[in-house]
Symmetry: C2
Subunit: 222 residues, 2 copies
């Protein structure tokens, strides 16, 4: 399986790239609008993994090329770049098994962070609306701390929640999620349930801000 | 400390009443619009506790009388009864230490349950707007399964999240929450953060519906 992380140079992209490269044998591909930046970051990830005794080849490309090569394509870009990223790579997504969205729209005021979805209801719904027909969309990895993912010395022991209307695609993402050590995937239902999933991200940030020792807090449902 | 549960005949009220009566020495008072129903339910709770070897006196009253007697008053009523319940007992709340709201506005469609807050932004904010001046309001206990609370044979091992603008009141509610065995209270910030806390309730119900063995699922932040 080839996993392409568009925006894989950013924080959540880095965390997922390192975990999949460290814990699995899947091919990890880094995408960026700037292919040079993608290659530089890919080399950084290789160097970090090498320092942990894991020799992996990670390639960097422009987002379009990364999308073309990926079987699973993860949109690890900020919510305000979702639409233009999908439009820029739309003609490369024909053979993709699943398009995955971990992004969450938020703003901040004096009280804390707040869920601010796009007008269609959620980022996941925006992705589903914008993706080419026939490309299954799954929301996942919203509630994982990027720093905790990226620090391979830390155990995760966390849940991630999946939303999507295509059961096969959701099952595939769940399987790839659970190949990351310490990560459990739970089904939160269809894309129509995505706002409730995405809105947990500002809640987790608020808990991290308000409680001692909860930097990088995650969640377990039990 | 006297804990008055307005609407204490309903499911979340029953769960909290039984846990506080079983795990602590605080006086538990059941309120209802119908005082006869309150007395009947209070007697039922006494009988259940007695069957577990715990002899407790629990009294039932009309909501106004219960509110008057309570130091901490919990609004264990459905969200659409919040406003009229507060208005009905407003002149009995002078000496109350804190008014606690566990209610969440939700609706359901073919996909699952969805967060539907009142127009002011959240039930917690509605309570804060409606409560008499000077009565501190804390949102808490939103994400606990009523069935799991009410079954005293089950360990909780769950977190509850607190929101409120009065730190003393929030600390008091946190202390009383943690006197329930297996319950940990976390600070989620001011009332302005309450929508993110309340919206976890439909998420938990969706997880319970979509995943085997997750009936009565709760949450731990780690």
């Amino acid at each position: 399986m080839r996993i392409a992380l568009l925006g894989g140079t950013g924080d959540i992209g880095q965390g997922l790239a390192l975990r999949w490269a460290y814990d699995t044998d899947h091919e990890v591909i880094i995408g960026s609008r700037d292919p040079e930046k993608a290659r530089t970051k890919a080399t950084e990830y290789e160097t970090e993994l090498d320092s942990l005794g894991v020799s992996r080849s990670i390639n960097g490309f422009a987002n379009g090329m990364a999308a073309e090569r990926g079987d699973m394509v993860v949109l690890a870009v900020p919510p305000f770049h979702i639409r233009d990223t999908i439009e820029a790579v739309a003609d490369r997504l024909d053979d993709v098994d699943v398009l995955v969205t971990p992004a969450v729209g938020m703003d901040r005021d004096e009280t804390g962070f707040h869920y601010k979805p796009p007008n269609v209801g959620s980022v996941s719904e925006l992705v589903a609306d914008t993706a080419p027909d026939g490309v299954p969309v799954v929301g996942a990895f919203h509630n994982l701390s990027a720093d905790r993912l990226a620090d391979l010395s830390l155990d995760l022991d966390q849940d991630t929640l999946l939303v999507g209307d295509d059961d096969d695609a959701k099952e595939l993402v769940g399987r790839l999620a659970e190949e990351i050590d310490g990560l459990r995937a739970l089904d939160a239902g269809g894309i129509g349930n995505s706002a409730e999933v995405e809105s947990m991200t500002p809640l987790l940030i608020n808990l991290a801000l308000e409680n001692e020792g909860m930097h990088d807090v995650g969640v377990r449902f039990e």
